[in-house]
């Protein structure tokens, strides 16, 4: 790692002030520190967000589940509130990486990083979450802009993420056997604003599978999407899977997610 300074402020305002143009926020460090170890980035300073009380905690109120940005994956997976309100989200969190990664990695870090294979983006899109930052609120659907690209401005801090509680939802991924990242992951949610299907791992960033949504709106069952094709155009090809295989996996994971939602 190159040298850097380190600071752990205790308020969001101080954190924003401490971050210079070349600095990085540090959450769980599960993505940032491996990146620094490979010398793929050279921040002058790390601003550790772990001292910010506003970024902590899980709460349920008025049909919405809210998760602080610094909440680690293990806490989401084990939370009685999450399991009761949106069990599919607890399932999703319990499948991220491995136990050690889940004890450190955070929801805020995961969505700010916007890895194309990360799990949480499928839920942010499918559940129509709201991302609360230190400056504004962003709609989940507009949050992911491309490969590792989000609507966040430089220096903007994710404070919390709120998820409207759906009638039912399911998540299923085809994990990379080494890293457990989603080769393809699909969340299917039956929500107040209709059926929504969020896909991660397949494209440059999470997106909605609208043809599947239309079919599921008429008939919420795995059979309803049996003949809905997912075009391979624009999907990712890498050493793990071709675009065609990913397109195929979207259908398979969606069917399993529907079964889980109905389960």
């Amino acid at each position: 790692m190159y040298e850097f300074d380190y600071t752990r402020p205790s308020s969001v305002a101080d954190a924003a002030k401490a971050r210079g143009d070349d600095s990085s926020y540090l959450a769980g460090g599960m993505t940032l520190l491996p990146t620094l170890k490979q010398r793929l980035a050279r921040p002058d300073k790390l601003v550790d967000l772990s001292g910010l009380a506003e970024l902590k905690g899980i709460s349920v109120a008025g049909g919405t589940l809210t998760i602080g940005a610094m909440t680690c994956h293990a806490d989401v997976a084990n939370s009685a509130d999450v399991k009761k309100a949106i069990p599919a989200l607890a399932v999703l969190a319990s499948g991220i990486g491995d136990p050690q990664v889940r004890n450190r990695g955070t929801i805020g870090g995961s969505i700010a990083n916007a890895d194309p294979s990360a799990d949480y983006p499928a839920a942010v899109v499918a559940l129509n979450a709201t991302i609360h930052t230190n400056k504004r609120q962003l709609a989940g659907e507009q949050f992911f802009k491309g490969l590792f690209e989000t609507a966040l401005e430089p220096g903007e801090i994710v404070v919390k993420v709120s998820f409207p509680i759906p009638k039912r939802a399911g998540y299923c991924k085809f994990p990379n056997p080494a890293s457990r990242y989603a080769v393809v992951g699909v969340m299917v949610a039956d929500t107040a604003s209709g059926v929504r299907v969020g896909v991660t791992g397949a494209g440059p960033c999470a997106f909605r599978a609208k043809d599947m949504e239309a079919a599921l709106a008429k008939n919420f069952s795995a059979d309803a999407i049996a003949n809905v094709a997912m075009p391979a155009k624009g999907l990712n090809t890498d050493l793990h899977a071709t675009a065609e295989y990913r397109a195929h996996l979207v259908g398979v994971m969606a069917k399993r997610a529907i079964a889980a939602a109905l389960g």
Binding site: D5, Y6, G29, L33, P34, S50, D98, P99, Q100
Partner: protein
């Protein structure tokens, strides 16, 4: 440089470190606790697993300064004097190791698994899923899984 104070295996320790010093480097080079291993540079192998306030974490993917004020337990803190911890004894009994390089991390992860299911039941599938953060190049895992299940049983969990 930054001053860090961390309680390691029950003993308060302080040192001047660079902010970029990893927790594993602090443990191995400042405290000479070389039981914690480094097996990769991609945060995947788990050989560096220690407990931070009782929970398994990868000490190669944490800065020492992030552990300021916290409790860290390493493999050196597991046995009581010459008496092996039931998890260590089970690894010996079940041939849960060959070269031993992954073993400190495996034991720390096994302790985490048993802690998470304390007072309840555990099965082989759960053990395999929760060992996903630890890689072993020698054993083929069967002996390790058997060791975790035996230790769990000896520590009062129901083994299904």
């Amino acid at each position: 440089m930054a001053k860090v104070s961390i309680t390691v295996n029950g003993k308060p320790q302080s040192a001047e470190v660079e902010p970029r010093t990893l927790l594993v480097e602090f443990l191995r080079y400042k405290l000479n606790l070389t039981g914690t291993h480094v097996g990769c540079d991609t945060s995947q192998c788990g050989a560096c697993t220690v407990h931070l306030d009782g929970k398994p974490v990868k000490s190669c993917t944490m800065l020492a300064v992030q552990a300021e004020g916290r409790n860290v337990t390493t493999i050196e803190g597991v046995a009581t004097g010459d008496q092996l911890h039931p998890v260590q004894a089970a690894f010996r009994e079940c041939h849960g190791l060959q070269c031993g390089f992954c073993t400190p991390g495996m034991v720390m992860s096994a302790l985490g698994i048993i802690e998470r299911h304390k007072g309840g039941a555990i099965d082989e599938k759960t053990v395999r899923h929760e060992l996903e953060g630890n890689i072993c190049r020698c054993t083929g895992y069967q002996g390790i899984v058997n060791a975790v299940l035996l230790a769990a049983k000896n520590m009062g969990l129901k083994v299904a």
